[in-house]
Amino acid sequence: MSTTPADTAVEIGRSIGVSVPRREDRRLLQGQGEFADDVWMHRQGYAHFVRSPHAHARIVSVDTRRALALDGVYAALTGEEVKELCESPFFQIAPEPAAKIAEYPLAVDKVRYHGDAVAVVLAETRELARDAAGLVDVEYELLPVVVDGVAAAEADAPLLHEQVGTNVAWHGVFDWGDVDWALENADHVVEIDHLHFHRFSSTPLECNAAVVHWDPGTDTVQVKSNNQMPMFASMVIGPTLGVASNRLLFASQDIGGAFGNKIGSYPQIAALALLSRKAGRPAKWTEYRTEHMLSCGHGNERTFLDTRVAVMKDGTILGFKTRAFDDAGAYLHYEPLGAVIWSQVSCGCYRLKHLHVDYTETLTNKCPTIPNRGYSRLQHLWLIERIIDIVAHELGFDPVELRKRNYVQPDDYPYETPNGCVYDSGDLPRSLDIALELIDHDKWRARQRELGRGSGKRIGIGIGSTLDSGTNNFGQARIINPELPFSGNGEAAYVKLDLYGEVNVNLGTTPQGQSHETTAAQVVGDVLGMGPEQVHVTAGFNQQQNTYVAFSGTYASQFAVTGLGAAKGAAEKLRAEIIEVAAFALEADAEDIELADGMCSVRGDQERAIPFIGVANLIYANNAALPTELRERISLNCRHVYVPPFEVPDPDKKRGNLTLTYASQIHACVVEIDEDTGHVEILEYAAVDDCGKRINPRIVEGQVHGATALGIGAALYESFEYDGDGQLQQASFYDYHAITALDAPDIKTADIESPSPFTPNGAKGMGEGGGAPLHAICSAIQDALGDQDAIVSDSHNPWERVWWLVHSGERGEPRGVRVSAQAAASAEGES
């Protein structure tokens, strides 16, 4: 038995497309990973935040004296003190008036949600810090609360940020095509009163953590954390702390899942920096799970009102009009970018031409939202999938046929959407056919008909069609705020030949399970003619040793394009340098040098060869043997920045190419509903993925599995709900039922590969998954409902809601949907 599991045989230089085994596993399987809470510093203290038990209250006083009196308590900070210490509040992405929001690392004057941080203490041990936090006396004066994202926009709603003068963080109208014409000329207009996409998050198993050391000797701030977008964090907190970005030094190694949620730890990191400076020691913080649920950030909750859909007799859907209310919670963390990010997939998988979305983002007394797997697109894709199924249900179309009729067709690519995005490639009808085959669609359709009423069971078949848009054009931020100096995207990498001829790669990314060490080694190995196992990729990110651009990090389904594009470009530069040195050493033409297995040889004459170690020796230790020009130009340390071909979008028309790639995921499922209990059992589940050229198919499949289970969890079990007083009801894994191995179905997968014409490897970013299970499960429940039952109008369907749905018809509950009078008349005329 070997100690290292046998590596799959890979032909040298051809590892792309092969499921080579993961490089990361060995350490992780033995508990040798280094996660943020595994980092300790000499003289560190443990930090504990004091958090508000109230959703909205004026802070009358904060008294830390009893805490500080304990032996072993090093320091405490309150909001008022933090405000004095900060150069400015955090900068806001939002335009006026929401730009006036003054958020500091700790709450000042008011708390605005259950869990808002009012103070932080530092002590000798974890336990002592927690005790001391309990001794901080805070006096509150309660204020009225608003927890409804729609009600928050009303003029008489309690105001969260008085200086803003409104709870509307952003409002804009997205209008493409001519929706009024479409609604007037449609054969049918389907009106849906209310659709609600609920709050949940991916709740990574590892909570946030950081050790922050404001080193007085060098006046640098070292941040060892699991923040997944350190450059964004740096840009936000640097000016607030008054620390230049070259002295704010982020580093991380292994991250225990993030899913977008760990973009949001920058306020805590800023508070820890100030606490460290005050105490003169490193401040270590490990978020408690309850703290994570209360305050790390939740996914966006969105309500769609008065949706009107224009449909032709043959099933062609012309477009729709809706009013969207997105509930951003109490502060804007990364928001209001969500107000534009959905428009990357404005028409979903379909050839809808006329779209009108009146979009409002509001502030409420709830935990701030933060990007969550599928960020802002999954809410919109869910809306479109609900529209498709409701139209099918109301007008009697087959949901499969209706989708196929309206899908973007294989020969439409590159397909320009109504707002100027370009779908790069795909084959949606074929993906759907494969998914239906995997769930044995025809068998279950027949079984559904046989079952009939009175059996106490209902069968439903569901489909979720999604796009996983990857590699953002950050210029879309200007659609939110034209003043923002952002556009394009990019990622950086170093590839070097080291002293003894070893190849080393440094990335600008912060992987959290996406296997960057493995796939970067594949790409670099292929360029340099060596096996991936011969390439060493530095684990994790370190601002002082790695290279980066402002967009660096791991988020938004882009590594396969940006990160690997950078690694490939840097490897190609290194290859050219190695060849130049080898050509000199071998007295041959550069065109005749071949690289294989760490050797450079002259084509047709294997005897004339120099190993990589020989090339490295000439540059690092033996440079007098080289011509001056060569030794001054070549370093064998190559940096490359991959930059996608973007232009700045048009903020007035809200148009432009907002993302480079569009992976697709088509899901299909079969559920059985128990009419007595509302219990939903998943009988079949299949996911068909198309992310272009797959660098490592097994890693892709793993991402599909993960996104699927999180989506199923959200559809059936996981929800963050607040009561009328703004108390979070699910603040632990007791109350928040994270999906388990007993709940998760076996997932059948298949794939097709439609290479992207726009990317270095033909790959597309993937991993977020577009929330397909939410769409597919809602679709299946809808499919199981009768004509008199209410429509599925919520993305969260626990037993009690499903029970209510299957009995809504017999109880005469309002259905929440209408086919407009004129359209109904024409439908009758047809039948």
Partner: protein, 164 residues
């Protein structure tokens, strides 16, 4: 409130090594392992005993080490993830997780390796249903459990081959 003087001397075995320590009465076993013994392979994912990231084997039983106080380990034999591979040689369970891509971020992995090891010691050829039940207390947010189940099935096969 802190009761500074409230400490206890304990004696225990961890991964075959006999140790003695003085622990605070209120310290959780998981914090003792991580903070005091520096054995950071055992992880923490919740405050409620719900996630299994902290799973270790105590006196032959699978235990969530956040649900046990350090003083309760007095006289116990503890196995943690650090002691699973012998001399750097991965066990059948660890190899199977690697071969079946049963881990992504790896944060849940030590707990799952312990849970699977415990299961296969008692039941070397479990059914899929038995596997799902055995790991229902281990939350994984990355893999959707599909490859975790496959890993444990493979570990059972690997183990059977090794025993043969």
């Amino acid at each position: 409130m802190v009761e500074a003087g409230n400490v206890q001397a304990i004696e225990f075995t961890v991964n075959g090594e006999r140790r003695e320590a003085t622990v605070a009465s209120r310290q959780l076993l998981v914090h003792f392992l991580r903070d005091s013994l520096g054995m950071k392979g055992t992880h923490i994912g919740c405050d409620t005993g719900s996630c299994g990231a902290c799973s270790v084997i105590v006196d032959g039983r699978l235990v969530k080490s956040c649900m046990m106080l350090a003083p309760q380990a007095d006289g116990c034999e503890i196995e943690t993830i650090e002691g699973i591979a012998k001399d750097g040689e991965l066990t059948a369970v660890q190899r199977a997780f690697h071969e079946e891509h049963g881990l992504q971020c790896g944060y849940c992995t030590p707990g799952l390796v312990m849970a699977a090891t415990f299961l296969l010691r008692r039941n070397p050829q479990p059914s899929e249903d038995e596997i799902r039940r055995a790991v229902r207390g281990n939350i994984c947010r990355c893999t959707g459990y599909v490859n975790i189940i496959r890993s444990i099935e493979r570990a059972a096969r690997n183990g059977a081959e090794e025993a043969a």
